[in-house]
Subunit: 201 residues, 2 copies
Amino acid sequence: MPRPKTRIQIRNSETILEAALDVFSAHGFRGATLDQIAEVAGLSKPNLLYYFPSKEAIHHALLTRLLATWLDPLRDMDAAGDPVAEVMGYVRRKLELSRDYPRESRLFAIEILQGAPRMREAIEGELKALVAQKAKVLQTWMDEGRIARLDPVHLVFSIWALTQHYADFDVQVRTVLGDGRDPYAEAGAFLETLYTRLLAP
Amino acid sequence: MPRPKTRIQIRNSETILEAALDVFSAHGFRGATLDQIAEVAGLSKPNLLYYFPSKEAIHHALLTRLLATWLDPLRDMDAAGDPVAEVMGYVRRKLELSRDYPRESRLFAIEILQGAPRMREAIEGELKALVAQKAKVLQTWMDEGRIARLDPVHLVFSIWALTQHYADFDVQVRTVLGDGRDPYAEAGAFLETLYTRLLAP
DNA sequence: GTCTATAAAACGATAGAC
DNA sequence: GTCTATCGTTTTATAGAC
């Protein structure tokens, strides 16, 4: 499927990527098998390879299309807005992403954990550049005394770590909290308190 | 090797576990192969299986022996000590663990990320119980007004997330920071600031 | 205890019928 | 476009010589 054109091609490509997300996010690249993906997708294995030339190609398509989504919340942090509200908004959007797209979070986590063998380019390029740009915005806000003076890059790391933890370590979080508690609702409140105190000038 | 006895048995078991840590932490259980582990260990594949009955057994031995180490810093948080100093000490010890044992951190991360299929028992038992016990200690300190009132369990989650991030996402952290910066030194300073502000009553 | 050789199953990918 | 059948390889694990 070099370029999906017909409706059925688009639909099947989507079905495959959806199934692949399930399997890759649960087992990593090498741990995932085409048999599993085919079964989840409800297609035969050769049919998978009719739409994508290889296992590698499916994984690559997944990562590429997800990177954009994953960086959107940071991209939306506006230099012209109110500093505290902008950072808080970023934290909130990132936590919502963890809540609504936990498989995507785990897919990225596994990839980076394993040394990012299939995503180095994106990290060294797009991701690094975006962080550098937003770090400057944060630095300006700090220099103006509108938020507390902190290392801006580690501030971004902290937001990634604290929000993605709830998706990536979901099993542990739910086990430790026990039944009847809503991890994401509680995390939202906790993180609002945390960043309110941390950012106060 | 049901029970290592002789010196050579102990030494080879250690060599195998050390090599297995390398490979499992980099590729996860299914992504790792006995061939790889054997090559890193400098032993033949059948020799590996002379010391451990199966791939599963090697992985299990690794996880079991590492869980204790991983929980030690939290275990050392002393109810009789100074609250702020105790939490700070926990953060520091946990960050040192990330710095000195990043492979162990990634091994646990991959396991939990994948739904903890080989560690559920430990999480539901030992880990959950320890967190519950220490959450009570934190709650007491909060009730006494000695640290700020927060959800104690999410406070523990935040320490896990913020410290383990530097080991688990090492590649990303180093790429974004760029050369010539020491992630762990900077993280130490950042986290001390963060928890100082967060915990102030 | 350690090796070579190999069994048995699973894996990514292809051939070719329809 | 989708299937069955299968190739060639890799993988876990075992057999048996030494």
